[in-house]
């Protein structure tokens, strides 16, 4: 570009050819106790992230003991060997780190990020915590009480209540209906013995994958893993039937429910149905479809509810692809006097994309570009790369998945996007959950012909 050049404001600049990108090479190994080791080098900064991933989440909670998997994960940094809970956390803090645990419906994932010079200490602490937790009854009582208190606080959080309400209505008695935290009743059923039983049955090396990403060679990683995790006994894992794969209900328990919050400043709305598993062959057409419907700022639903009508700060849709069939959910929070209008508009948009206003060619092209062109920014940090590898592990995706993603999205045609809308969105199965002031919302629902909402008290 020459010094004299001045931008041409009569048209947007053209965008040149896309630079190429390749995901780091995934190196796989296995210890003699059958613990899988996956690593990817990423040497730009002296940082390492370790992840220990178990394909065991809240859908594996023993029946009547909802919250068990999350409670068990939470107990892992509450003491090991001679170290108390405080000692463990002090040891992590001395290396500038902490142990993070995430329990989703399908998985339990422990994450530690540290400066590379502390990689050995971090891995050693991680091993002590997860393999040899103290599981003292006093720590258990304290942690359970904190989780019960969390449930009390959630009663006041309209967005969390709405999330619970929609899952309960859509999934009925399926393991996906309950949240990882569990309920007051189920938490009170738990004992330290249940936690010990869950830990010994499901935390075993053959069921786990240890992941490293960052400034660490596969050779050094193997050596460290052997030193720290080699003594983890290869006891047979007692994996129960996979709750995630139980067939979900064919129809929601109710079509329209209302959780009354007198004096609420807004209406939290969720509209959803049972969606698809991560293994669906329609995955890529569905994420393209979702971009058009509600997956980005310029999606139909956000443009209508926010940019045209000003009813909300934002609205979005998502397919939550899980090991079993996860939900498709639209979520928004709208001004209370616009509740019925927002619901009617949302339902119409979902219906329209499979009937009178199917995805258009330019919409499909924009969605595909938005999904693929900025893709490398998902892999900037050691932790992002480690979490990406955990996705490969937990959903059985091929090693080169991230390198073929853009190609697979590029192959999605407008016909495929239209087809998956017709096949996988079911207006007759959609359930709507509202958390708001019933006195304000109920007359609107009647006037809009949406009918009478069933009052719901979410299980907490």
């Amino acid at each position: 570009m020459s010094r004299e050049r001045r931008a041409d404001r009569t048209r947007l600049p053209t965008v040149g050819p896309l630079p190429s990108f390749r995901f780091s090479h995934v190196h796989k190994d296995r210890l003699s106790n059958r613990l899988s080791l996956w690593s990817a080098e990423h040497r730009s900064l002296p940082i390492v992230t370790f992840i220990l991933a178990l394909p065991v989440g809240s859908s594996a909670d023993f029946e009547g003991f909802e919250g068990l998997s999350a409670m068990t994960a939470d107990m892992m940094d509450e003491g090991t060997g001679n170290l108390t809970a405080i000692d463990v956390n002090a040891a992590f803090a001395r290396i500038g780190a902490h142990l993070e645990s995430d329990v989703s419906a399908d998985a339990t994932v422990f994450t530690v990020t540290v400066l590379a010079k502390f990689a050995r200490q971090a891995l050693s602490l991680l091993a002590d915590c997860v393999i040899r937790p103290r599981l003292d009854v006093a720590d258990f009582d304290r942690i359970r009480q904190l989780r019960l208190t969390r449930l009390v606080q959630i009663r006041d959080m309209a967005s969390a209540i709405a999330d619970r309400a929609i899952m309960q209505v859509v999934y009925g008695t399926h393991p996906y209906a309950h949240m990882a935290l569990g309920t007051e009743e189920s938490l009170r059923q738990l004992t330290i013995e249940t936690v010990k039983r869950f830990h010994s049955a499901l935390y075993c090396p053959s069921n786990a994958t240890l992941i490293a990403s960052g400034d660490l060679t596969p050779g050094d990683f193997r050596q460290m893993a052997t030193d720290m995790f080699g003594a983890w006994a290869d006891a047979p894992c007692q994996i129960p039937e996979d709750g995630a794969l139980v067939a979900p209900p064919a129809a929601p328990v109710h079509r329209l429910v209302l959780v009354n919050k007198a004096g609420a400043a807004q209406s939290e709305i969720r509209i959803g149905e049972v969606g698809l598993a991560r293994s669906t062959p329609d995955y890529h057409p569905l994420i393209v479809l979702n971009m058009i419907l509600g997956g980005q700022f310029v999606s139909r639903i956000n443009m209508t509810l926010r940019q045209e009508k000003g009813l909300t700060y934002g609205a979005r849709t998502a397919f939550d692809f899980r090991r079993g069939r996860g939900p498709f959910i639209l979520q928004t929070s709208v001004q209370s006097d616009g509740t019925a209008e927002a619901i009617t508009t949302s339902l119409r948009e979902i219906d329209a994309i499979r009937t009178d206003r199917p995805p258009k060619l330019d919409e499909v092209e924009v969605a595909k570009a938005a999904l693929t062109r900025g893709y490398p920014r998902n892999f900037e940090t050691a932790e992002q790369i480690a979490r990406a590898m955990a996705q490969l592990v937990l959903y059985g995706l091929p090693d080169d998945y991230f390198n073929t993603f853009a190609l697979q999205v590029a192959e999605v045609t407008v016909e495929r996007a239209r087809e998956v809308a017709v096949v996988h969105l079911h207006p007759e199965r959609l359930a709507t959950a509202i958390v708001s002031d019933a006195a304000i919302v109920t007359p609107q629902l009647a006037a809009a012909g949406l009918g009478e909402a069933t009052p719901l008290l979410p299980r907490l």
């Binding site: 020459s2 965008v15 001395r94 606080q153 400043a265 310029v298 000003g310 001004q335 900025g374 940090t381």
Partner: protein, 421 residues
Amino acid sequence: MRVIIHEDHRLPMVAVNIWYHVGSKNEHPGRTGFAHLFEHLMFEGSQHYDKGYFHPLQEAGAALNGSTNPDRTNYWEVMPTNALDLALWMESDRMGYLLPALTRQKFETQRDVVLNERRQNYENRPYGLATSAVVAAMFPSNHPYHWMTIGETADIKAATFEDVREFFRTYYHPSNASLVVAGDVDTADALERVRAHFDEIPAGPKPLPLQTSVELTSERRLLLEDRIELPRLYLAWLSPAMFTDGDAEMDLLSDLIANGKVSRLYRALVYERRIASEVMAFQNSRELAGFWQIVATAAPGHDLAELQQGIDDELAKLAAEGPTADEMERGHAQVEAQFVYRLQTLGGFGGKADQLNAYSVFLNDPAYFEKDLARYEAVTAVDLHRAAQRYLRTDNRIVLSVVPKGKLSLALPHSTPAVVS
């Protein structure tokens, strides 16, 4: 306009980040919330591309957003390197040519969107208006930190289309902006591209810095009713402004006192005595002044008087004895790690481009990173001990009790109702 180019060739990406040195501190009573409302209007199209700001950039693979705080407004795009010109074109068009495309209808719709943002993120969220009550009590009504960036509902409703023009002319031009281009670029080439897009925009007048002062000379006790079940206590003190002496000390003290299981208050109130369900502390570093805050939520069956006594006991102990060697070691380890972690992300909120602009706008020194780390590394146990004694006293603070509606007796004694709207 200051322009900073930062080469980082790790990924085929580039980040564009613009800061305008204007925030809610530049607003006036009766017109609060305007800087943030204005930020929304920056995404509604400009003279030469009047079809919304997101569409062409998302199609090019960009992530983009903006935010407003009391001190500044930032806008950013992160995208593949081939879309750099597009981002510069879009940013320069809204800097130079926003007003011709702005209509009354866009303005009114975004005003509704912002009112809904306020309802969603503040009014309908437990404890959502507590910080508003704290800053209103801490900073006098003529101080620019007296109000929250989101603004008061009545003020947002009172904002007019005519206010927009004046605000744009006062604050949105090159002399009040700082631009960072960071990523897989060549410095000379990137600079040429910036010139091609921004040189034509008149520099404009530089707004004058604000002159303010504030002090707290007594403890003020307030109460706020909310739709909650568990009472919560907010303790807030004035503290040093961003990057000034004592700012790093207060930041380190927040970790030592209340962040993580090993911190003093977690250990005493949550782990041992179990009278609190959660506790946190933070230094709010701002350009004109800071404030340092402890937030503690009661455990069921326990009250705010117990929490206050427990917190004051721990603060008194710290003021008497100072920090331990272990605490200093942990504090410095955390700082070292955090500074390295900060280098991982190129763009977006808190990424490298954003950090460079923070140093540029607030310190006039984009290369301040090393010095910033050094000011934390230099902090000794004696410094922390002194800072705790100097700032965290019982006679110069705001104490806010947030209690369930109708249960005023759960507030600390002698509390008066806080003003929020």
